[in-house]
Symmetry: D2
Subunit: 339 residues, 4 copies
Amino acid sequence: MGRNEPGGYGNQWTPPTYTVDGDGKVVGGYAPREPNNWGRWGPDDQRGTQNLIGPQERVAAAGLVRTGKVFSLALPIAPDAPSLSSRPRPMITPLMTGSDAVVGSPYNEAAPGFQWSDDMLQMPTQGSTQWDALGHVMFEDSMYNGWWAGNTTTLGRGRVLGIDHQRESFVGRGVLVDAARSQGLECCPDQQAIGPELLDAALASQGVDLRPGDMLLVRTGYLAKWWTRPPEMSPEEYFGATPGISRDAVPWLHEHGVSALACDNIGVELLVPEDPEDRVLPLHVACLVDLGLTLGELWDLEALAEDCAQDGVYEFLLVAPPLYLPGGMGTPLNPIALK
Amino acid sequence: MGRNEPGGYGNQWTPPTYTVDGDGKVVGGYAPREPNNWGRWGPDDQRGTQNLIGPQERVAAAGLVRTGKVFSLALPIAPDAPSLSSRPRPMITPLMTGSDAVVGSPYNEAAPGFQWSDDMLQMPTQGSTQWDALGHVMFEDSMYNGWWAGNTTTLGRGRVLGIDHQRESFVGRGVLVDAARSQGLECCPDQQAIGPELLDAALASQGVDLRPGDMLLVRTGYLAKWWTRPPEMSPEEYFGATPGISRDAVPWLHEHGVSALACDNIGVELLVPEDPEDRVLPLHVACLVDLGLTLGELWDLEALAEDCAQDGVYEFLLVAPPLYLPGGMGTPLNPIALK
Amino acid sequence: MGRNEPGGYGNQWTPPTYTVDGDGKVVGGYAPREPNNWGRWGPDDQRGTQNLIGPQERVAAAGLVRTGKVFSLALPIAPDAPSLSSRPRPMITPLMTGSDAVVGSPYNEAAPGFQWSDDMLQMPTQGSTQWDALGHVMFEDSMYNGWWAGNTTTLGRGRVLGIDHQRESFVGRGVLVDAARSQGLECCPDQQAIGPELLDAALASQGVDLRPGDMLLVRTGYLAKWWTRPPEMSPEEYFGATPGISRDAVPWLHEHGVSALACDNIGVELLVPEDPEDRVLPLHVACLVDLGLTLGELWDLEALAEDCAQDGVYEFLLVAPPLYLPGGMGTPLNPIALK
Amino acid sequence: MGRNEPGGYGNQWTPPTYTVDGDGKVVGGYAPREPNNWGRWGPDDQRGTQNLIGPQERVAAAGLVRTGKVFSLALPIAPDAPSLSSRPRPMITPLMTGSDAVVGSPYNEAAPGFQWSDDMLQMPTQGSTQWDALGHVMFEDSMYNGWWAGNTTTLGRGRVLGIDHQRESFVGRGVLVDAARSQGLECCPDQQAIGPELLDAALASQGVDLRPGDMLLVRTGYLAKWWTRPPEMSPEEYFGATPGISRDAVPWLHEHGVSALACDNIGVELLVPEDPEDRVLPLHVACLVDLGLTLGELWDLEALAEDCAQDGVYEFLLVAPPLYLPGGMGTPLNPIALK
């Protein structure tokens, strides 16, 4: 794969036939599939479906806080957390420690008695509970709203569609769909494709409806299996069997005005192809490139889902801002659900 | 300084006279000053004054959302942001780029047309808008609630008082005190010590009162000067002149039940000593070690303060969760104020 | 393990009974076993047995270069190289790339036509072909020549016994002992303890003798098995079965004046205990702490050994300097053998 | 600058007119200037002028070792060392410390008494004493021997011309030209362009000649000024004033068969243009792209030069291997001169 040979990597390369205009957009390249939101919020838009959340939606969402219960939907950022083996592990490395204080480090005792500990964080921006930036995925050298892939470079990072454009996004009504419980299961079956029918049935059984701008959290129950998987199961086998949102849900997501979609699995969608003839990771391409609909992965929905099952309330205020990472192609975060 | 010689570093070391018990607490060591909260929420407490926020406080805080306005209080995580020169700069390094996609990287085109960008984040956990963990500061080998400094080691990190214990904290009522505007200034004077009188006067002029559990955000206006400081001013000179919360405010913070305190400067308090005879960074020691009161630094309060000045409303729902960093001594975050 | 309880970790801690003097040395603590070199080259010595190589030894070693053949003894620094799973993988991350150049990065074309690529290296200092620094191992809070363990802190790193003290060391005569071939084997048997008899026999069969100051390279043949091990074998199983230098060789190394010892395995010695009653990793403690004899691990001796077998010459000029890492507890390197 | 507009960055992009063949080489692109070595050692050559060193040259170089004196030519790898401000500082971060041992870390005392320290190294591969890889510089999307810039990508790194191809290079005769002393100066004048005349005069005054395959070390004396520069001088000012090798020396280097060229400054050549009409960094482009002649920067030649001045011997065995970094665009190293 790569270069000019889809079936296997080759060294040769022929320059593309498109050009790039003065706005950094591809001319004569990829045309988005239907449905899509290219141009819907103007040619400069970098927030996609988060535009569906406005002040009214936020006020209404705050009105959902009735009991004061708070839920963190984040996994611990730790080396043993679920991760593709191709991504480096998160590391927390110390700059100063309490043990240094005890032995009287010349640096730690800046003044009699005063001591401190400090540390560094290093992690892939998609190495734990995360949002994808809209620029995370490209199709045929194009990104959401027509921008060129070449806007994302090594030095300089994402000049467009970085997660920084969303630093005041992801605050609004959240709705949980417990796809596992609504089927009477602890966990959705391996490789189950969760499509519109299953989503509609779950919403109906939960007695909650979707409104434009909602952020949809779908619980498959699969994340919890990471820690109990058999020792001989490789991460790739584990992830390969994940249930996920079907590509058939794309029109449904668009029609309901879903503004963000997060799941308790590695890639929201199935990692095995639903249709080998289709594009690879078709939900990613349709949501991130065509619709500008942000995806969230590795969300820990267990405690929230347990609570929703008990009180029957599946809606809440969701406050899930990204870190303010200029040009970042994703972000770790600690999403907070308030009921 | 260091080892046994307060006036200058010496190589010799005499073991401490205290011991450490089976709970990892110091026996025969530092006794906290008054006021303090050691034991107030039990011997195992690791959340300190955040215990003052309960479900009722959160419901009341959500009720403050009236207009749906949202404010990110985070600085960009970037190498040119304000930082002590002793801390490494944040770095975002790519794992995959759009430019790789354009040239047909053998790794990027996993399947025809599908392409992606990925990156890594590396930064000090206190290298941008942040919370200190309660374990960040120690005094005479002791931490909040009596734990021993030796619980924080290189490998293993913080076995107690890490920021992970606060992953569902920092959700409640926020109150902004605009210490600069309330004095009719764009920025508090250099090295101004903001004490109880100034805080009371500002609250009165703003027409807002404090309630137990409130998170207090104090704007000095000083952060904005970072980007306009003269080129010959070193970071250390800039930080040295910072206005900040006076050590005299400690009893006031305690009496008002302030549950967290964040400022738009590098260290909340002054970096020059108010009293050279006192402990170094006395507010840090009093808040983090004695009171268990979390401090937030480098918060960007400009847009929020501008809005508060316009509508006269200085209270809001604040949702400011840390990353879920096991044993982390601090955390970057993107605090969200909702009005 | 840890703190005061050898049989299992406990939180309690009792301060040590020793003190530390003005030279940073332990008073009333660990006494080195025999043989040892504490004090042999003065109280300030930080180079240990490398003192055995002087100008004469270097001139003589250069005289061994007869054919001009050159051998790199380094493994590639790469994520799939042999490594304990507790150490992070090496990473090479780009700061600038050729693909950026092709797409016309605003940063890459500083001037018409001129373009560049840059990268960062991140790795454990002992994560590939390496030398241990003498400060890498401590026994009962003491290091070589009596220094205290507390001299090595998080901030500040090794104030003594860092690899920087050896930046002009490791240049002299190298002698290869092919422990595998001399037994007529491709690889030494699993967990074979290579003691004085085997070493003497191999030297005799190779027709080479040892002289004071020699750096001894022992080939077990085991490193090559890393890439052909069965997929179900974990790194820990692989390393656990390694053949290695026996603790019984310690007096022999001392008597022969060996100045450094390197092997083609993960830890020079066996990882399973030869005698469960003895200290853990007894060769490490005896060499690094008692003798000040530097150890090298993960050396790739295959091509050199093949050549030695062909021409019957097992001696050569070895130039194996560390990186100049102040306070570093180890170093990656590319050792060069010249015949 | 960048994209299609040499005079200033523009977003538009027109694909290049060349193509890339099945060997990864540019067809219809940059043609190297004279002199050049494209094709001289075959179409697959990735070592350039290091091919000029063969077994005979190495044997002869070893014969230069007469006194056994050894010189490390490396700077300490440390945050305060000379570095472009655009490159991150080197960092050594601990994975385990002696202070952890003293406080009884549960991780450090794997067994009674046994303790260790470990650390990580992070640095730009060109952030201290270094070699450039031949792939480090490109001109108009082409590298040495005709390879395409697009062979160097973020994931995958350098598929050609990485420093790993040189892991058995840089062992041979070294010759020092002390350009400062030969002019009777402690340091060459600011911005002095060291051309063929000055080089010839220095060689003559030193009584040493060049032979094909020699590695040439030129001392300007400028590196030592880093630590004594006035506090108000920025790194960029310091580097801007550096003396360096003139672009006029290119034919001279080629004719003399110089196989590598290293200096005690940041970029070997001048950083200010000798001729604003010429290419940027013309010596870099000529040496790395056209000639395949490796450059070394930030070499510490002080002690070696002092010794050469004393004994009048300016030739030596130089052993300066890179780390074995697959695809690395440069390498830190500790070059060893043996006299």
